[in-house]
Amino acid sequence: MNNFLSLHYFIPEFILLLNVFCLFFSSEIKQRHLIKIRQILLIVSVVTFVALNLIRWFDHPCGLFYNSFVHDPFSNMFSIILLCVFLIFELPELWKYWSSGYTNDLLQKLIILTASILLLEANSTIGLLLCIGLIYIGNSIIMNRFSHLNTDNSQITVDLTIQILLFGLLFFGFSIVYGFTGSLYFHTAQLPAAALLESPFNFCFLTLFLILGLGLFGIILPFRTLHEDHHQTYHVKYYGSSYFLPFIALFGSLIRILNGIFPMIRNYGAVPGEYMVFVIGLSICLIAGANFYYFKKKTINDLFVISLIIHYGLIISGLAVFTKEALTVSIYLIISTTIILAGIILLQKSDKISTQSKLIKTVFYLGLIGMPGTPGFTGRFLLLRALYNGGVSLWLIVLIIISILPIIYFYTVEIISLHRIKTVHPGIKILPVPAFLAFFTILMVIYWEPFIQLITKSLVFFN
């Protein structure tokens, strides 16, 4: 059935697309009143997007275009998260757009935002690959725009090649999914529990492709963008919404696919031990690898990169048990990590350290350390608890804990050196966005129960 009647549920996405087209076709327009209309349209779109998503957050799930795209509380929650992340990173860009009507790369970033939201709603292999393609193309254009800032253009070629390779990996992964299930739709691709138990290694293999394909965006790209880059502007500009939006969306998409393939949320306890050990092992390897990388290169940028990877490692360990509890905490952790890293990245723009920025940075660093009283601690504690309650052996949990010890030490050293830097008092303006993010970080701890409950309540998928 072509469920065309639910089209009105996708109004937010359509108006975002409308903005993209408006920006694209009117890029040459110089008339003041037309620019004003374009600006107002963007603001109205963002407000409508938030309002509609909030109103329809917990509405009954529905599908569109033969269920290729779906609208459910899960996608709704992630859409709001993505929009917030977009606003956090692009507020200066949007302000520039509002005041002068001119922007360099807002169009590409809007494409990435829209594609990321659609990616979360994609319920079929075709829809998903289309959205990923859109994201990669948007990213390639942004990379290309900044290529002139780089002395070494080969980096851009490497980045693009990696994106193509990831796309290939994903394609291969979905071929296996199709081979197993005979369906291109995720909600109908449920595997019989018996098959799952009979061939757990095949599932490990499949998960590997999916995690690598969807997750390598979060692993390799930060290295590529920072590894050989000596130009500060390039990575600060790039390492923003255009990176974090796909990162979060791909993770959300991974949950949707796995939920469709493995009927685990419905049948608690159906997770085979081999699969569990495999995913935890993968997560530990990721964390350990990142730590070793930092031992080799000890720059502050590398520390941010490895902390993202380490947190990604922790987050995917939640997929090992695939219980509601573990998924909820994984999502909580990805939100808190994004907020903290966003705050740090925005603070990095300023070379000078004022007393206030020192304080805000300390709050963020403590969050990444996992100090009690920060979302880092709450997230990790709840995650370990969820893993243990989900049946992961104590030894594996001990290994996870051991693997995250080095990053705690690295950040502690960073806090100490931060407090040894002489502060600059006059003339340093405190960025309002990092200050707000620091406040929000604290809020996430004080009210973490409502946060967790909201995420748990949103874990309703189209079926």
Binding site: M371, F381, R385, I397, I401, Y409, T412
Partner: protein
């Protein structure tokens, strides 16, 4: 406020931390005044708690119980029994003293007072928490703030050595986290309420041995006990006097509190079964630290090792748990009472020991023209050293005597008590040498330490000495406070 004394005593340093963060670094007098007011108010509340504490009751008092995180059945439970109260008194006195000792602290005053207040929040919370999750939170805060204090207030070249403390603290925190996760997973009771878990001993019956060792090693890692003591000298040896006091006098007591508060009530069977481990740890530490005290000529190192020496008696006292096996409850009561008293007396004693070089300098600086004043300071210095040896009449003597006496009751630990006396002799000889050196002003001992940061030391030492002396002469005051709680604990273990 009368009804929420515990909530207030916990809330004050938390509030103090936030206020101190907002004050500019240049306003040092405001920073110091706020710290003094906060710790002073805490001291006043502790006095209120002591006066209102029902000594004849073994149950929890001043309980504040709120439902905190319904999702995980985590409650905000704080309360006091006799044991907790003594530790709370110790922490309040030490924090109050530290503010005045650090009055002339040179640079980075803001960092110091903020971190000290954070540590105050952590340790105060830790001593009154009756929910495992709450305990873990305060434990983490205490470890982290102590680590930052040690690292920030030491010479930069020594930072690599402070890494030891960081690693030990990290592993300790991880082990306690794992332990709490195991308890939460294995217990049929959902939630982390310590009292509820302790009231249902069968809930943790299948993880008695595992849980016992996870928590025990977790706590021992931050204790100055052989073989986990390697962080002690690098951490305390290079930091300023105030940080040394916080570390040696207070922080080193967290482990023993953890054992009394969590390990023994939750794992009673294993605590009795493996009580000999406490005895062995105690004896080995007594001998090792006594030998170190005996062989080092640097006063600073002597104090550090002396901390380990005093702490070791606590573990020897805990070995008296073994006598519960043979229904000798009196011996266990003596040992545990000794352990608690020794924790408190050791804490107070270390504060005055750290301040001794300044007292010595003050005594030397006084000209003969000032007459009796000089001799008063000299007398005070002698009393500090005599209290250190464990002179009868001081609380330290009572603590050590009860610990040795508790261990002496059982045949298997009797030999430990006898051998431990050898350690006392070694320390005694060294302390007499220090006394001789101090009176004759010889160069036998190196008293080098940064004295510029210390202030108000004469008043603080005098007050603590008088307190130790009075409590030593009238130990009943302390014993009455803890006796019911310790007895209830032993009674509970015996029933199981």
């Amino acid at each position: 406020m009368g009804n929420h004394l515990l909530l207030t005593i916990l809330g004050l340093p938390v509030l103090g931390t936030f206020i101190l963060i907002l004050i500019k670094e240049e306003k040092s007098s405001v920073l110091k005044t706020i710290s003094a007011v906060v710790t002073g108010l805490q001291l006043w509340i502790v006095i209120q708690l002591i006066t209102n504490f029902d000594k004849s009751a073994g149950y929890l008092q001043f309980v504040e119980h709120f439902s905190w995180i319904n999702l995980l059945n985590i409650d905000f439970v704080i309360g006091l029994n006799g044991i907790n109260l003594l530790f709370l008194i110790l922490s309040t006195v030490i924090f109050f003293s530290t503010v005045f000792i650090s009055w002339q602290l040179g640079n980075r005053q803001k960092s110091f007072f903020v971190l000290m207040m954070l540590l105050n929040s952590g340790i105060t919370g830790l001593f009154i928490a009756f929910d495992l999750f709450l305990f873990l939170m305060f434990y983490g805060i205490s470890l982290f703030s102590m680590f930052l204090l040690i690292t920030l207030f030491t010479s930069k070249s020594e930072n690599i050595n402070n890494g030891y403390f960081g690693i030990y603290a990290l592993i300790s925190f991880c082990l306690i986290t794992i332990g709490i996760l195991v308890i939460n997973n294995q217990s049929p009771l959902s939630g982390f309420n310590l009292n509820a878990l302790a009231r249902n001993p069968e809930a943790l019956m299948n993880i008695q041995t595992g849980g016992f060792f996870i928590f025990l090693i977790g706590f021992l890692l931050i204790a100055p006990v052989v073989p986990f003591h390697t962080w002690l000298v690098p951490a305390a040896g290079n930091s300023i006097a105030s940080v040394s006091i916080l570390l040696l006098a207070l922080f080193s007591k967290i482990s023993i509190f953890g054992i009394l508060h969590i390990v023994i009530p939750l794992f009673p069977q294993s605590s009795i079964q493996f009580a000999l481990i406490f005895g062995i740890l105690g004896l080995v530490s007594i001998l090792y630290f006594a030998f170190c005290v005996f062989s080092f000529p640097q006063y600073r190192k002597i104090v550090i090792y002396f901390t380990g020496f005093l702490n070791a008696f606590i573990y020897l006292g805990l070995s008296a748990l073994l006598s519960i096996k043979h229904q000798n409850l009196d011996a266990a009561l003596t040992g545990l009472n000794g352990a608690v008293i020794q924790s408190i007396s050791a804490g107070l004693l270390i504060v005055i020991m750290v301040l001794l070089p300044k007292i010595r300098r003050t005594a030397q600086d006084r000209t003969p023209a000032s007459g009796s004043n000089r001799w008063a300071v000299m007398f005070m210095m002698l009393m500090v050293l005599l209290a250190g040896i464990g002179l009868p009449g001081f609380l330290n003597f009572i603590g050590q005597f009860l610990c040795l006496s508790g261990a002496f009751h059982m045949l298997s630990t009797r030999i430990f008590s006898v051998i431990a006396l050898l350690g006392l002799i070694l320390v005694g000889v060294q302390f007499f040498k220090i006394i001789r050196s101090s009176i004759q002003v010889t160069n036998e001992f190196d008293f080098t330490t940064d004295l510029s940061e210390m202030s108000n030391e004469v008043i603080i030492v005098a007050v603590i000495l008088i307190a130790l002396l009075l409590l030593g002469i009238f130990p009943e005051t302390v014993l009455q406070m803890i006796d019911r709680s310790v007895y209830s604990l032993i009674e509970y273990i015996t029933v199981i």
